[in-house]
């Protein structure tokens, strides 16, 4: 698949210091990045900080994005997810420390509470249907890996299945989603 031409152009503009290019990237993907960070961290302030880090990082080092290796939105999502998982792990470490010290971790707003704020895009509906169409066992495995940062070995352990089964469920789930998105013309756009 050829690299997305508009991604390459956007990267070129970012490298050249075109301030509007950053605003365009933000307007296009901040909703997705913010959603992803919020779903993983379940914490509004952390989601905002991660969104900021991702876009400020893109502006400061646009050269780090390689259009040959995938779409910009994919790359931004990977950055956001990795930061959000780091944040969650630090929080869990803090919570363990506080629990050991006899203090209770502060409750964060539940992700479900903010579900009312959801905006429905055309793409949203397609992705939702693609995720819902997955067999339960595949969806379960993908959720553990994507939102909780489990490796396939941890997924296997948690679901009490062989590691080979965990790997194939992850692969089949993504292939199913890719097929559906490609059929609707929204993959790699």
């Amino acid at each position: 698949m050829p690299p997305d031409e508009s991604d390459a152009r956007l990267r070129e503009r970012l490298v050249a210091g075109d301030g509007d290019a950053l605003a365009e990237a933000y307007d296009r993907w901040s909703g997705l990045i913010h959603t992803l960070a919020l779903r993983i961290t379940d914490d509004a302030a952390a989601a905002e900080d991660i969104t900021q880090d991702v876009f400020v990082g893109l502006w400061q080092r646009p050269e780090a994005f390689d259009p040959e290796r995938g779409a910009l939105r994919t790359w931004l999502c990977m950055l956001a997810r990795s930061r959000a998982l780091d944040w969650t792990r630090r929080r869990e470490a803090r919570a363990r420390y506080h629990a050991a010290a006899g203090a209770s971790a502060a409750a964060s707003p539940a992700y479900g509470d903010i579900d009312d704020a959801v905006i429905w895009h055309t793409e949203t509906k397609v992705v939702r249907e693609a995720v819902q169409a997955l067999p339960d066992l595949q969806r379960q495995a993908v959720h553990l890996a994507y939102y909780r940062g489990h490796t396939y070995r941890q997924v296997a352990l948690e679901l009490n299945i062989p590691e080979g089964t965990a790997k194939s469920r992850l692969r089949l789930a993504l292939a199913n989603i890719a097929d559906r998105l490609a059929a609707e013309g929204i993959l790699e756009r």
């Binding site: 050249a16 210091g17 509007d20 605003a23 909703g31 997705l32 940062g149 490796t151 998105l181 993959l187």
Partner: protein
């Protein structure tokens, strides 16, 4: 299991970043030499990045300003590149629209420049004026069919974009702004804002002539158009011979590219005008009449009316 099979076995987990580090390293190494696996890797990783898009919870509106301000503080944008980029972006949209118009669309009527072809010729002429002032080649305008005018306009636009690629010190250089009257000499930075502005307005003129809907420019561009209008307005308002006291005028504009602008227009009371930002830029382009612009005023209604009437004369048709 050979390395190819091992990679395909791991590729779903790899796309979700769910392998052990040594496994991920083996996959990465294989991908750089195997086009088949690399294509599958891209496909699955792209699918993974769509997972979170099954619902989108927009970031709080205030975060936009915070992120952009933090980024700009960390690395100041190159203003010339930004302004040229905005102009090039509008030109690309117009180029795409013109590429799609049918042969008989070129003769469709336009209220200001007779036909769609006339609009493009007018635009090319104003681009050529800037090119001439910058010492760049001027592309001659053919008398012939619309497609030739399209090609000439596109070439003139390309000459400006490419010609300005390496001229960062020249933003204050004086050039002519397009204007219905004698063209005023203003800094290049303003001329570039105007070129993007005019290209957008004519994009919408042509869109209307061939039955397409109106477009909205990016928020940063809307803000710069209002900046430019706010720069020109005080002189235009107080330069007339009416002599009435105008005072300080505040523009409070909402929607895409909104914000607040304060226009010092001599002694007198404060008047505030509230309107939609994009609609205000259409007023500046004289695509909205001062009487049909939806707005409200606190302070002097007479001053407000005068400001809006003068704003509608700032454009270049």
């Amino acid at each position: 299991m050979d390395v190819h099979d091992e990679v395909l076995d791991l590729i779903g987990a790899w796309a979700l970043d769910a392998c052990d580090p040594d496994e991920a390293a083996r996959v990465d190494a294989h991908l750089s030499g195997c086009a088949t696996c690399a294509a599958e890797a891209r496909r699955l990783r792209s699918a993974a990045s769509w997972l979170a898009a099954d619902r989108v919870i927009p970031a709080p509106p205030a975060l936009r300003h915070r992120v952009l301000a933090t980024a700009r503080a960390a690395r100041p944008p190159a203003l010339l590149r930004t302004l040229v980029g905005a102009y090039a972006g509008q030109a690309a949209l117009l180029d795409r629209l013109l590429g799609a118009v049918r042969q008989d669309d070129w003769g469709r009527p336009d209220p200001r420049h007779e036909t769609v072809g006339g609009v493009v010729a007018h635009l090319a002429g104003n681009d050529a004026m800037l090119a001439a002032d910058l010492g760049l080649p001027v592309v001659p305008l053919p008398a012939g069919a619309g497609v030739d005018v399209h090609a000439a306009w596109r070439e003139q636009s390309r000459v400006i974009v490419d010609g300005l690629a390496a001229r960062d010190g020249e933003l204050d250089r004086r050039v002519r702004l397009a204007h219905t009257g004698p063209p005023p000499l203003r800094p290049l930075r303003e001329a570039l804002v105007q070129r993007a502005f005019e290209t957008w307005i004519h994009l919408d003129d042509i869109g209307a002539a061939v039955g397409r809907g109106a477009t909205t420019p990016p928020p940063e561009q809307v803000r710069r158009i209002v900046d430019l209008a706010a720069e020109l307005l005080p002189g235009a308002i107080t330069g007339g011979d009416e002599g009435a006291e105008v005072g300080t005028v505040r523009l409070v504009l909402e929607g895409t590219g909104g914000g607040e602008w304060t226009l010092p227009c001599g002694p007198g009371d404060h008047t505030t005008i509230y309107a939609d930002a994009v609609e205000f830029t259409r007023l500046v382009a004289n695509r909205r009449g001062p009487d049909s612009l939806v707005h409200s005023t606190t302070g002097s209604p007479a001053v407000s009316t005068r400001v809006l009437h003068v704003a509608a004369t700032l454009g270049c048709d």
